[in-house]
Symmetry: C2
């Protein structure tokens, strides 16, 4: 073995990456024998495998059987992709592949899978476009149009025609009259595009994408800030999420004041109460649903005085609704706002029991003040970080996040839609997986991407971002993470985990029982 390396096969499991690196650093690998090379290779591959997210999970014998089915579907789709990358869904703009995805046996299986919770969902972008269109049939709904009635800008419920016009050449019209005028089919078609990002499918600039996103939020504002509609919307959101295998939701909400038909405004507490009522109602109707919480999330584009008011408001609401308003965050395009450090002194005033779940690192402008938000999110004591897209450019932050057990909320489709990333195979979450950094998968604004509440994001992560051999262990770890890193009080987490486990085991049984059918469908593809 001369100047090679002496390693006995059984010692593999005792190695850590550091020890190995030091050992190898001393040696001249060009002088090692083929046998040394093979042993070292085995060690490195083993260390890699055990260091990857999900490998702490032990599968039951049932899960092993189900895993075999899942991996058959995954491997087939993966290998087809290697043969012809143009056919690999996670290599492309997802809105162009929605139809193809619906035909994927793997996607169908993941859709049925109990995925735990969604920890990052923005209040006004949770429901499907179809449901939003239904809401526009409500009575007393006016719409402000521009471009001779061709562009919808704002909705508003009112007994009489609203007078305030925010858009040049804007004109208020009753929705039902407009429907008669344009024809129902045409109007539905128009809304089908206007209420999501589909029109900006070709956009290549993050600013253009954000502008489109904000136009949709503006349009929806008057529709959703009307109490009876919001109650219906939020209940339906929980229904859609639940149907997609989600049992727990944390909603980022600006908690704005709602308005009445006469134009008067309600106190913000009334807003929170509607959430509370609908969550209660949904839990009664669906005993397997765990819970929903609110993370108070005003816009980051604020002055320090405004921030002080937000912090105060959050403190008040948390006192009044301690089990519901549990956290604080700032939303809106990070690149356009002030850095978190600007607001540090205000954020320090937030009581300890209100968790910080801060958006940070949703940028690819490396080394800017905004990029540094990742450092601030950690040092301000965030429990989770929203997106954290830039984290691989900050090794020290990665180390801290791991040590402090801060979970990253990975929202891959959102990143693509807002022009941070293109091909999912290059998404930085792969590096999180490789480094075993805790993370959860979320969807952010699924309503705007025409995707399901969570399944599409799970699919692109599992097939496109995770390693080829990531299997049911990975899916189980990621699902469990969504409860582990949730804002549920510790004492409620075991209850939550039990509710998830019941559904999980049912799903595993379903996979086993339908094995032959699933495999036959897969063979046809």
């Amino acid at each position: 073995m001369a100047q090679g390396i002496g390693i006995c096969g059984q010692t593999i499991r005792c190695f850590t990456g550091n020890a190995l690196s030091e050992l190898i650093g001393q040696s001249n690998l060009r002088k090692s024998t083929p046998a040394d090379y093979r042993k070292l290779r085995e060690i490195v591959c083993t260390l890699e495998r055990f260091g990857t997210l999900g490998n702490d999970i032990q599968l039951t014998s049932n899960e092993i059987e189900a895993n075999h089915v899942i991996m058959c579907l995954k491997t087939k789709e993966y290998n087809k992709g290697i043969q012809d990358p143009s056919q690999f869904v996670p290599g492309h703009q997802i809105m162009r592949r929605l139809k193809k995805m619906k035909e994927s046996p793997l996607f169908l299986l993941l859709s049925k899978m109990p995925k735990g919770g969604v920890l990052k969902a923005h209040a006004h972008s949770m429901c499907s476009t179809d449901f939003l269109i239904k809401l526009t049939y409500a009575k007393n709904l006016w719409v402000c149009t521009t471009d001779n009635g061709c562009k919808f800008r704002q909705f508003r419920f009112s007994k009489v025609k609203p007078t305030r016009i925010q858009y040049e050449e804007g004109e208020w019209q009753l929705m039902e009259q407009l429907r008669d005028y344009h024809g129902e089919a045409n109007l539905r078609k128009y809304l089908k595009n206007a209420l999501n990002m589909y029109p900006s499918i070709r956009t290549t600039s993050s600013i253009a994408a954000w502008n489109q996103l904000e136009r949709i939020f503006d349009l929806l504002d008057g529709l959703l800030r009307y109490p009876p509609v919001w109650a219906e919307y939020f209940y339906n959101a929980l229904k859609e999420f639940h149907a997609d295998g989600v049992q727990y939701v944390e909603v980022r909400s600006k908690l704005q004041r709602f308005y009445c038909l006469d134009g008067s405004k309600l106190p913000v507490q009334e807003t929170v109460k509607i959430y509370q009522e609908q969550i209660g109602r949904f839990q009664t109707d669906n005993p397997d649903f765990i819970d929903a919480k609110i993370i108070y999330s005003p816009l980051r584009h604020a002055t320090i005085d405004q921030m002080a008011k937000y912090v105060k408001m959050c403190t008040i609401l948390n006192k009044e609704f301690p089990d519901l308003v549990i956290g604080f965050d700032l939303v809106g395009q990070e690149d356009r706002g002030d850095p978190l450090s600007q607001f540090a002194s205000e954020l320090h005033k937030l009581p300890d029991n209100i968790n910080l779940y801060l958006h940070a690192g949703q940028t690819n402008w490396y080394g800017t003040r905004i990029d540094e938000n990742l450092i601030d999110a950690v040092l301000l004591g965030a429990k989770r970080i929203g997106h954290g897209y830039a984290i691989t450019k900050h090794p020290l932050v990665m180390e801290l996040v791991k040590q402090l057990n801060i979970a990253i909320e990975v929202c891959p489709i959102c990143n693509q839609m807002l022009q941070l990333s293109a091909d999912y195979r290059n998404h930085p979450a792969a590096t999180l997986i490789a480094n075993n950094i805790p993370f959860v998968i979320s969807s952010g604004n699924p309503s705007f991407w025409r995707t399901s509440p969570l399944s599409h994001d799970f699919y692109v992560v599992f097939l496109g971002i995770a390693p080829m051999n990531a299997d049911l262990k990975f899916l189980k770890r990621i699902s469990k993470n969504s409860l582990k890193y949730s804002g549920l009080p510790d004492e409620q987490k075991s209850m939550a985990m039990s509710k998830w486990k019941i559904k999980w085991e049912k799903w595993v049984d379903y996979v086993i029982k339908n094995k032959d059918k699933i495999m036959a469908q897969n063979a046809e593809k």
Copy 2:
């Protein structure tokens, strides 16, 4: 300070990332005071800065002055990009931005900068398209066309019409007759596209891009494997590289046998001799040019027997030309070939003095056998790794690469052209910079991307991949790396460094002397 963290300002420099991470891990950051937060922030930012590639460099007072100019240009272009990402060149497909880049004062300055060496250049894709077109005027040149003379497939020098036809409906015609027939302008226009990747500017599949790349190599083969033309081509390649601020080149070459006008083949030694003669000639003509070396690089799509022959051939050539044929590599699309591990036993037979400079990790198929090539490249003892694009998915490999001082040959434009990456701001080299992993910038096949030998790659790395504040220290480190990690014998490295330093200092002086002019041009942009 209660449960906060006690850190005295002066201790910042004593911290390592690990120590900090452990210290912070013990504390509750939500309980730290605003003063603690600010101190910690300073420490983390300082550690980040000092941990980033290039921060070991001390600038001279002249360099500090030049740096001010460079950073003015960079900051202006960067900030414009933040304002309007559609204007930010490194956010886009580079072939669509070549014109815009030519107008960038930063690009112009980098073009003039002495950049050291190019350590990864493929022999047949070094010269500009314009020069290639010139070569097609040589006497006795035949071209095999298909599609009724509309597609050029193969070139061949011959006294008489070649008889071997490899393409269906292929037809050999004399180039000069074809030129008369189509008209010179039309033919130039045709070749202007056929000899580079421009026609596949819209390609979105790696396989389609590689197919196009290989079609160009096939077309060029008969043109360049003819000794007098190759001599002219290679001399001109050195000239173009030298004019772009490159003083040293390592060429990946298959070292195929050349052919004569009568169709006979020369021994491979004759091929090497032409390199040797032209390098000598170029050094005589340009005393500031350091040297050029060959890395013998057959195709990776080979059987084990073929590989054994390649290893033998490399050993023979290295014995005959010890100062010229210094290394071994395998080329061709990694995703399509066998993994390196397949050839390990053959590669082990290569004498130690022949360095391994292995392509590895030029893939985004995470977790495949090909993706594992990164592990093999390290364990086989590679001195440098070509591309290493997938390395951020292999933290243990990153650690080993750093400890073993293996440099990654980053070829950003090549990665984009071959459909690995899109937006340069997401290129994994940013993570290499953040982790201070040694790397060099190379161009690979600049001829095929219509880019300069190295300046375009430097520009996208400096502006698009490196952090906003990366400055002349970074550029100097990267330039020096290209000699430090070269295959030059240690005793020649100081000579090489001196030759580079002379040009570097001249360039710094040039920047200072032309400061006002450069700044005025920048103000106009």
